[in-house]
Every structure is written in C-alpha cells, then in structure tokens.
C-alpha cells in the first residue's frame, strides 16, 4: 500500500512516515475500514461492520457481470490486514495428501494453466430476513449474491500435482481471517466440499476478479471459487487446503451452521443434530434488477424488465413473470449461461391493462422442473435457502 493510499484511508498525513519500517501498516488502517476504503459502493447496505457483512440492493445488481464495488461482503471473522502477495504461500496438506506441498502465488500462476469462469456466488443465508420465527444471523434481504469473472488455476490441477491418496473424501480450507474474539486458537470459519466437487473443472484457486486483484473484503490475494454451493465454501484469504479422509471438521462445519433439516420441520421447533445435513447445491432463484422497485410511469408506455436467474448446480430453463399476484404467468426471454455456474439473464416487455398499483413477480424454473415458491419455503433453524420469488412494486399513472 502506498503512503498516499494510507494517508487517504487515515484522513491525515503520516507525519513521520519516513521513520516507519518498509511494509509497516499503521494500526489506524485496520480500525478505520469503511465502505470507501473497502472499495465498495456507498449505496450498499451495511448489515454489520464487525464482522463486515454488506448487502447489495437488488437494483444495483443490474450489471451482467458484477463489478467489485457492487459485490456483497460476508465475513465471519476480523478483516485480515492487507496481505503481502510476494510472500503469500498456499499449503496443501492433510491426511490424504501423499506429502505436504507449498506454492507461492507466482508459482501457482506460472506452473498451472489459467482459466476464467463467471461464477455465481450466493450466501447460504440470502433471504434469511423473511423467515418467521426469525432465525439468528445477518438478516439478509435478497442481495447477498454476485456473479463475477474469476481467474485462477484449477484446484484439480494443483491437487494432482501434490498427489492425493485414494481415501480422500473432502477438502477443507483455512484463511487468515482471525476469530472475532481475537483468540488465536479459534478459527472464524473453515469449511469445505466433497472431493468430487473440489475436482470439478470450474473449481478455482482464484487470484483475480474481473481481471484485477480480488478486493480485500472478498478474499485478496487468493480464494477458492466453488460454483453452485453456498459461497461460504469458497474460502477467502486462502492459506491452506487440507485434503481430508473424512468430512472436514473445521469451524462452521458443525450443526447447525450451513445445515438444513433432512425432513421438513415445523417452524420454530427444536431439531437434533443427526436430523440435519450439510447444504450442497443452492436452490433456484431469480431477481428483477431493472427497474428499481417503486417505478411510476404512464399507461401508454410498455415496461421493460430485466434480471438474472440461477439454480445452484442446475441450469435455469425458464423465467416467467406475473403482474396479477401469480394468477397468470408469461415467459420472459432467457439467455443461456456463459459457462456452468454463471447466472442467466432474462428480460421482458410488459403492457399493463389499466392505471393502478401492480407488483411484478418473477419465477424461475430449472432443468429438473423445480420452481421458486411464491411464499417463504420450509423453515430451518438458521434461516438458509429462502428462494421465494422476488417482486417489485410499480404504479401505472
């Protein structure tokens, strides 16, 4: 970080800057992070600033590829100090590696073929704010989602270079985000995925987002990018990957974190750990990103709407909209995904029959025939996977 950047974050000249050691970061820097210093649009909604949890209002997700300043933030621990990419090392270890091996960032970049994929990353708790009885955690609306271009090397290629044993069943990640309590013995989050998911073509060790450095709050300088699963498996500030001979047992792998009931349950009831399972694929969802809810316009004008739809590990095959609270539905035009795990864009032109108040509802259906519910779906103890239809209010005058 340059002196000028540090001074701008601190809002003051560092008077004795020459006396500071090279690479020294003044302690004031980490204390004073805000949306601006994190490179985020000031219109984003801060749900929490310790840890940082920032939601993107739906109309700001209108870009086909989410820019860095509009990407949501879901941190579990303390934001790491700005890391030095030159000395950054990724270590692959665990019971199921033939031998432990480390790579510098430049080794990763030069040794393995690089790939770029557009990957939808969505928080498992996206939509939590609508569950009743309320469930604990950040009360997300529907904007804890993004789809950016991620560039990196395949985790598969790196794991093959390390050499993994036949008994590997899972990988787990470790980052440099310290636990909120500051207790060095506690991990803030250390999740993972089954080995088959880790070996997928699109699973990346990413060092770039949209052709630039990954934003600090989103995992600079290295993060996992795993499509289709809750974004919490895409570990940020990635230092270590453990190849496990059992389901990874890091922080927030335990019940009830990122787990849902195996059988549907009564809202608000208690449930035993053995009746819960780890979330795998995210459910289908769509959002109307244009216009922003609240548009008023003349009856003579047709309303153009557009948005995105995605379906975890599946592909979206249809998006329909309704202006009569679901009585009738009309298909929107839907694009194919750029690659697997990328969200798909839809648009439609709507003519309204007469003046008045309307809600435009969108409903996506995947290639297995699964659609979004119009009401909030099955309650679960931590409020995950609410994929109820998005809707906007409009007034025709």
């Amino acid at each position: 970080m340059s002196l000028a950047t540090m001074a701008s974050i601190l809002g003051a000249e560092i008077v004795y800057a020459k006396q500071m050691l090279n690479d020294y970061i003044p302690i004031g820097i980490n204390e004073q992070e805000d949306l601006k210093s994190l490179g985020k649009d000031p219109a984003l909604k801060v749900l929490n600033d310790r840890p940082w949890n920032v939601e993107t209002p739906i109309h700001l997700l209108d870009d086909k590829v989410t820019p860095a300043e509009k990407m949501f933030v879901r941190n579990n621990g303390q934001l790491p100090k700005r890391p030095d990419p030159g000395s950054w090392k990724l270590t692959i270890q665990g019971e199921s590696v033939k031998s432990e091996k480390s790579y510098s960032l430049s080794e990763l970049k030069s040794k393995f073929k690089q790939f770029t994929f557009q990957v939808t990353l969505e928080c498992g708790g996206n939509g939590r704010g609508e569950f009743y009885p309320p469930t604990e955690g950040n009360q997300w609306g529907q904007g804890a989602v993004s789809c950016a271009n991620w560039t990196g090397v395949r985790l598969k290629d790196v794991l093959q270079d390390v050499g993994i044993k036949a008994d590997a069943v899972y990988i787990g990640y470790y980052g440099t985000d310290e636990h909120l309590s500051g207790d060095p013995k506690k991990e803030s989050i250390s999740r993972g995925v089954p080995i088959a998911k880790a070996m997928e073509e699109e699973t990346l060790l990413a060092f770039q987002m949209n052709g630039k450095d990954i934003p600090l709050a989103n995992g600079y300088p290295l993060r996992l990018v795993v499509g289709g699963y809750p974004a919490s498996v895409s570990g940020k500030w990635l230092k270590t990957i453990a190849v496990r001979n059992k389901v990874h047992d890091g922080a927030k792998m335990e019940t009830p974190s990122y787990q849902v009931p195996i059988e549907p349950m009564e809202p608000g009831e208690a449930i035993k750990a053995e009746n819960m399972q780890i979330i795998t694929s995210m459910p289908i969802r769509s959002i109307i990103t244009y216009p922003k809810s609240g548009a008023t316009f003349a009856l003579s004008a047709a309303l153009k709407i557009r948005g995105h739809a995605w379906a975890g590990e599946q592909e979206v095959s249809k998006v329909a909209y309704s202006i009569d609270f679901g009585s009738t539905w009309t298909s929107a035009t839907l694009e194919k995904p750029v690659n697997r795990f990328a969200w798909q864009h839809f648009e439609a032109q709507i003519k309204f029959p007469k003046k008045g108040y309307y809600e435009v509802w969108a409903m996506a259906t995947d290639d297995q025939g699964k659609s979004q519910p119009m009401v909030v779906p099955g309650w679960n103890p931590k409020g995950y996977l609410n994929n109820a239809c998005h809707r906007i209010a409009v007034k025709v005058t």
């Binding site: 009743y132 309590s181 609240g294």
Partner: protein, 159 residues
C-alpha cells in the same frame, strides 16, 4: 524457664498452629468452590460495587464500562433501558451492535443464541448479568408476528 511458662508457650504455639491450619484449609476449600462456581465471585463483586464490572474470567473478557453517546446508540439501533450497559460490556466488544439489533427473539431464543456463542464462539459465562441482558434483549428485540411474505417497502419515483 519455669514449667508453667513452657506450658503457656506450647499452648500459644498450638493455638497459632491450629489457626494457621484452619486458614489454609478454608483457603483450599474456598478456591475449589470458586473454581466450581465462578458466578459466586461475580455476585460478590457486584455487591461491593455499583458498577457492573465483572472479574476477568477469560483473557478477552472486558472489565470496563463502555462509553456510548446517544447518537452512537441510535446509529446502531440500540435503545436506552435497564440492561443496556451490560449488553455494551458483554456483547459489543466482540461483534458490532448491528448483529444484535438485526435480530428478533423471545427470551428462550436469546438464551439459545447466548448458549451457541458460549459453546462455539468463546463467549464467557455471564453469571448474574445474563438474566438482565436477556430481559433487555427480549423486551426491545422481540419477534413480531408476520405473514408468509413481508410487505414491500416502496419509495416511489418517476421512471
């Protein structure tokens, strides 16, 4: 030295020794009891002090009152009320107040959240403070019944 004097001295030493023994035994028993019931110590301290300071049970446990201006409280959505100071002492040292004010639970629900934080997130025993904290939270951040979808909040504008 006379025999009587010697007897006196021996008796004196015996009494002194017994007192010392009693002292040591009561210290050992006391230490053991306090280790098993740390909340007693909190109660003791609270009786002696009008402030709600609580002894350091873990390294990162706070022991000072936190100063918040009314504006700062309003900005994070906290309200004045009995128990607020304890919330500021025990909760917002680790996480932002926004994590509290976003959430809505009954008394039982808030206790469950506290137990989860104690089991997995390093929260300390709250002792006597717990009841007051839970009362504050369940009074000011209670769930409100609502339908299967929340109403849209709309700001109208010309397209």
């Amino acid at each position: 030295m006379k025999e009587q004097d010697l007897k006196k001295m021996l008796r004196f030493i015996f009494i002194l020794g017994s007192l010392a023994m009693l002292l040591v035994i009561s210290m050992i028993v006391g230490t053991m009891l306090i280790q098993q019931h740390p909340e007693w110590l909190h109660a003791l301290k609270e009786n002696h002090s009008s402030k709600n300071n609580i002894s350091n049970q873990q390294e990162n446990e706070p022991n000072e009152e936190v100063e918040w201006t009314p504006e700062a409280l309003e900005a994070v959505g906290l309200v004045e009320g009995e128990g607020l100071q304890l919330v500021l002492t025990h909760c917002t040292n680790c996480h932002s107040a926004k994590l509290i004010t976003q959430n809505r639970f009954t008394k039982e629900g808030w206790i469950q959240v506290i137990r989860w934080m104690q089991a997995t997130q390093g929260l300390w025993e709250l002792g006597d403070a717990e009841a007051e904290i839970v009362t504050y939270l369940s009074k000011h951040f209670a769930p409100e019944a609502r339908g299967r979808r929340i109403p849209l909040e709309v700001e109208w504008y010309d397209l």
